[in-house]
């Protein structure tokens, strides 16, 4: 799709890189046998809400720690606003972190926690007082300014941690799974709050999560990581609709993987049906390929297949309120899941063992790298 290719790299923001991660590797262990980051390169733009998404142990925290300066990279370099900051100590980098467990200073009040960074920067007393008040207003915590941090709730601690990291006006804010300790309701609230803070402050946010929904709803762009590598970087829509490889597709949302044949920019499924237009990612040659079809991009009707439709047999029908999912078996033996929204009328006409005819929406076929 030429249209998506255009959306990926708008020329205007190309120059406005905030953090440039260049070929960073980080090895741990006495024999450097643990490869936490493996040649990671990514350019994070100014004012963007950038999310690192990936399974546990894939290196998200390590990448944040390298950017913050807590962990020296084994190889590679790091630029901030065009300046090489690889060798600067954490206190010399205009980057602040919101820690997963908040790491609020227990021996200080809420206000003193927020003032800490400003004090260390040697700001005048009056400025510090004003800034702390401003920050308390920003996170809506004015009444609790003199409380101890052990005497406030988890959500409130979260806000204090945010205010503390924002007060020194860093260029970049790093957030390591800041919402994972909160219950679902508070979590939804804080997601909105975080987005509001980001647009009000105009800061670059680098956000870590392993919750795909959180990543999709909050981010401007997402980097999907696995085993120390960044697999794909793109907008939530690109990542979801056009994952570059099987891992990304599998990690985000539900997927159908089908065998197909590629020739030029036309894909023919082994299971039959018509041909589909799709852009092959770099390094994928004509011939046998693996493609992705999201369940909601395939629809089925009862009856024998005709024309460009795929013939299938219904194996299971799953009703889930707003939608009905069908597990279908294609004539190649492959399985295909479809998900169709439920209308107000009486339920589905499908029964197990029935014949079904499947239509795949134009543009719904994505060619995967592997």
């Amino acid at each position: 799709m030429p249209e998506t290719a255009l959306k990926t790299r708008p020329a205007t923001t190309e120059s406005e890189t905030a953090v440039d991660v260049i070929g960073i590797s980080k090895l741990f262990g006495s024999n450097q046998e643990i490869r936490a980051l493996d040649d990671v390169s990514v350019a994070i733009r100014k004012n963007e809400f950038f999310t690192l998404l990936g399974p546990s142990g894939c290196g998200k925290t390590t990448l944040l720690r390298v950017i913050a300066g807590f962990e020296p990279p084994t190889r590679g370099s790091l630029h901030l606003g065009g300046r090489d900051i690889s060798r600067l100590a954490p206190n010399q980098r205009p980057i602040n972190t919101v820690f997963q467990n908040y790491a609020l200073f227990p021996h200080m009040s809420v206000a003193n926690n927020i003032a800490f960074g400003l004090e260390m920067l040697g700001k005048p007393k009056n400025d510090i007082r004003d800034k702390v008040t401003e920050m308390l207003q920003l996170v809506r915590m004015e009444e609790l300014r003199s409380r101890r941090t052990s005497e406030i709730s988890g959500g409130q601690q979260q806000r204090v941690a945010l205010a503390r990291a924002l007060a020194p006006q860093p260029e970049v804010l790093l957030l390591d799974e800041p919402l994972s300790a909160l219950d679902l309701k508070l979590r939804k609230e804080m997601q909105i709050e975080l987005k509001r803070l980001q647009s009000e402050t105009g800061l670059t946010f680098i956000f870590v999560t392993h919750d795909q929904e959180e990543a999709l709803t909050m981010s401007d762009r997402i980097a999907v990581m696995n085993a120390g590598k960044i697999l794909q970087v793109g907008s939530p829509r690109e990542i979801y609709a056009h994952p570059s490889e099987r891992f990304v597709a599998n990690f985000i949302g539900e997927s159908n993987f089908l065998n197909a044949h590629l020739s030029g920019n036309r894909v023919t499924l082994e299971a039959g049906g018509g041909t589909y237009e799709a852009v092959a990612p770099e390094g994928v040659a004509d011939g046998k390929v693996s493609v992705l079809v999201r369940p909601e991009h395939a629809s089925a009707r009862p009856g024998e297949a005709a024309g460009e439709e795929l013939a299938a047999t219904v194996e299971t029908v799953v009703y889930s309120g707003d939608a009905t999912s069908l597990h279908l078996r294609l004539k190649t033996g492959e399985t295909l899941k479809t998900k169709m929204p439920n209308g107000p009328e009486q339920s589905t006409a499908f029964g197990e063992g029935d014949a079904a005819a499947v239509t795949i929406a134009p543009g719904a076929v994505t060619i995967l790298k592997d």
């Binding site: 954490p90 602040n96 790491a103 200073f105 021996h107 960074g117 260390m120």
Partner: protein, 290 residues
């Protein structure tokens, strides 16, 4: 006698730190249901505290006997307070314990930082063992060794002062100060220090503004433990001291060789009360802080 009272407070202070993070016994099981549990507990408390009670009681005896009660009086307190040698020994004991505990706490703080706030290095366990060595070596051995070394230095330099005692006491106080400080550091979340670094604090500022205030209860516990241990010491003091350098315990020991009067009880009671006040003060301070 003072030995019993002081080791009593030792146990109390030592449990301060682990108690903060102590695990609760699983529910539904209580050792108190074991047969004879209460009887043994009562007997143990009796064995621990009855002698002390008697000691305190007889410090108020009007007569000169430690066994025959002749009525209530404060005469032995008055006598102790008016006794030049007691006052002299008391002042020396306090100076000695104060200096030894201070130096020991500072060294122990540095040692604890070095063994918990650095990357694992080779020989760390070895260093840990070395720091705690005075707990393992019999006191009498240390005493004799110090006697020989100090005698040698005295002959070479002709220098005599309380410094020999301060050095000796500092040495055996370090492990006692080290243990609570290390325990405190180990339970302390080190992301707090990382967070301070992240908020533009230099390594020195991190220490002053975050590490030190947070480890302060541990340092106070370590100091008090060291102070009490030093105040209580007889063996090493007896071997190292020069003529006339009596501390309260060595003075009392000297007295026992002559006439024993309830004056000894009075002094012990004062030490006991002072120790109890110190420990309560510590609990109060650490409660305020948490």
């Amino acid at each position: 006698m003072s030995d019993t009272t002081l080791s009593g407070s030792k146990i109390e202070t030592e449990t301060v730190v682990p108690a903060a993070s102590g695990k609760k016994a699983p529910k539904g099981y209580s050792v108190s249901t074991l047969p004879g549990f209460s009887i043994i507990a009562i007997f143990t408390f009796f064995a621990l505290y009855a002698p002390i009670m008697i000691l305190v009681l007889y410090s108020f005896n009007a007569g000169t006997s430690l066994a025959i009660w002749e009525g209530f009086s404060l005469r032995w307190y008055a006598q102790a307070a008016g006794n030049e040698r007691v006052i002299d020994a008391a002042i020396r004991s306090l100076i000695l314990a104060g200096s030894a505990a201070t130096i020991a706490s500072i060294s122990a703080t540095m040692a604890a930082l070095a063994t918990t706030r650095t990357r694992r290095f080779k020989g760390r366990t070895m260093i840990y063992a070395l720091i705690n060595q005075p707990l393992m070596v019999p006191e009498i051995v240390t005493a004799v060794a110090l006697l020989i070394v100090f005698a040698w230095i005295k002959v070479m330099t002709g220098y005599t002062s309380l410094l020999y005692l301060v050095a000796a006491h500092t040495a055996f106080c370090i492990p006692f100060a080290y243990l609570p400080i290390r325990a405190r550091l180990e339970t302390m979340d080190d992301t707090l220090e990382v967070a301070a670094r992240d908020l533009y604090a230099s390594p020195m500022q991190v220490f002053r503004r975050v590490t030190l205030p947070l480890m302060w209860p541990g340092i106070i516990a370590g100091f008090m433990l060291a102070f009490v241990i030093s105040l209580d010491d007889v063996v090493i003091t007896e071997f190292v001291k020069s003529a006339g350098q009596e501390t309260i315990p060595t003075y009392m020991l000297g007295q026992l060789r002559r006439v024993v009067t309830p004056e000894v009880n009075a002094i012990s009671t004062i030490i006991l009360v002072a120790g109890a006040v110190l420990v309560s003060l510590f609990f109060w301070v650490s409660r305020e802080r948490r």
